[in-house]
């Protein structure tokens, strides 16, 4: 549960909520802890964005996490 995954913010909604894109999954997350705009990357942990990431970092890290999780699910 202490895992955090990079995602791109694609929509902002009322009540500290944003829609993020993990690559093949879109999900609503809480953005109480960061001030973000659409197009920025965030690190998502237990349904909350906990920090902003650079776009490059977000894309790179997302691929690594995908591989690690795929292996853990097998």
């Amino acid at each position: 549960m202490c895992i955090a995954v990079p995602a791109e913010v694609i929509e902002k909604k009322e009540g500290n909520i944003a829609v993020v894109d993990y690559g093949d999954l879109k999900q609503e997350v809480r953005v109480d802890l960061v001030d973000v705009d659409i197009g920025e990357f965030v690190l998502v942990h237990v349904g909350f964005a906990i920090q902003k990431l650079s776009r490059e970092e977000g894309l790179e890290t997302r691929e690594i996490f995908r591989q690690v999780y795929a292996a853990m699910e097998e």
């Binding site: 942990h45 906990i50 853990m72």
Partner: protein
């Protein structure tokens, strides 16, 4: 030659003495196991896992407290990782109570909004998770919602490990995600080589190289090998929110004694959300009586394969210790990758 191979070769050149480094992050252990990083290291350089899995370090007494809340008829909401962690009389999964897995605390609040029954969120986790709970407690909440705070802070445990000295550590790979939120200024109090590292194999190897260099130079500082996600100050907004809601307290960790200032309890203004106060629940100390060596694994003085129960009596389906339960537990991770190698 790939970057990883190049770093690995440099590590072999530089490891001219025994070096033991500890990481404190389940995601680091998963990446190290997945990419077989230990096989790339020189014999004299070892990386061991410390108390980096929040589920694993939650002591039996706190699982028992969650089971007490089941007995009171509360709906229990928590992370899936916690379900099978053994308390002294079974686990949440085997309790027969209304136990629900949620992605995070906000989903537990949604459950409370849809029922008149009491809903308690079992709130485990380090400094990555605590701010999410704090932010939620600062928003409008139904009166039938409360949390059992089982949070832990990393720096006090590092201090304990360093003072205790049994793991003979030469440096630390700091928990990347905790540092994302908290920054790393708190860690400057520790006079040992430290590095903040990312999660791909080259990042981890680079982190190890930076640690080995510090050992060789006889220096002790914090190198940041993950600057794109981690800065010295961390996420100020998250830190402020966390400080508004929680205050440090002295708590026991599984495998450790009571570590001063290593837990988080709700500040007095949040009593109505404190399940311990609302339901008069105590955390009791429970003595360990099995052959399980999770305590030693969490202190970095044993590895999963040293345990007689590992992959025999203790498997992810029949876990005896918490490290075989969580996706971030060293035993579960070792089990996963040993199985894949067969």
């Amino acid at each position: 030659m790939s970057l990883g191979t190049e770093i690995s070769r440099k590590l072999h050149d530089i490891a001219d003495r025994d070096m033991v480094f500890m990481h404190i992050c389940g995601t680091h252990e998963a990446a190290i196991a997945r990419y077989g990083i230990r096989s790339l290291l020189p014999d004299r350089l070892r990386i061991v896992m410390g108390p980096g899995c929040p589920v694993c370090i939650t002591p039996q007494g706190e699982i028992d407290a969650a089971l007490d809340l089941v007995d009171r008829g509360c709906i229990i909401a928590t992370y899936g990782d916690l379900l099978r962690v053994p308390g002294s009389r079974g686990s949440l999964e085997s309790s027969g109570g209304d136990v629900r897995v949620v992605q995070g605390v906000h989903k537990a609040v949604e459950i409370a909004e849809g029922t008149d029954r009491e809903v308690v969120f079992i709130s485990v986790g380090f400094e990555t998770t605590a701010p999410t709970v704090a932010a939620t407690l600062l928003s409008h909440l139904p009166s039938n919602f409360s949390i059992l705070s089982c949070h832990r802070l990393v720096p006090p445990a590092m201090k304990w490990l360093l003072e205790q000295g049994e793991a003979h550590l030469h440096g630390f790979m700091l928990p990347g995600h905790v540092c994302t939120v908290m920054g790393y200024s708190e860690y400057e109090q520790f006079p040992v080589p430290q590095v903040v590292a990312g999660f791909d194999p080259e990042d981890i190897l680079l982190g190890l190289l930076m640690l080995a260099r510090q050992v060789q130079e006889g220096s002790s500082r914090i190198d940041n090998a993950y600057p794109r996600a981690v800065c010295r100050e961390g996420n100020m907004k998250a830190k402020e929110i966390m400080g508004e809601v929680f205050e440090p307290c002295d708590v026991e960790w599984r495998g450790f004694p009571v570590i001063p200032g290593s837990g988080l309890r709700l500040r007095p203004g949040f009593d109505q959300y404190d399940a311990q106060k609302k339901f008069d629940i105590e955390f009791r100390h429970v003595e360990k009586h099995s052959a399980c060596i999770c305590d030693k694994v969490l202190r970095g003085i044993a590895q999963p394969s040293d345990c007689k129960l590992f992959d025999r009596a203790c498997t992810p389906r029949t876990p005896i210790g918490p490290c075989m339960v969580s996706h971030e537990g060293a035993c579960k991770i070792w089990h996963t990758y040993r199985v894949k190698m067969r």
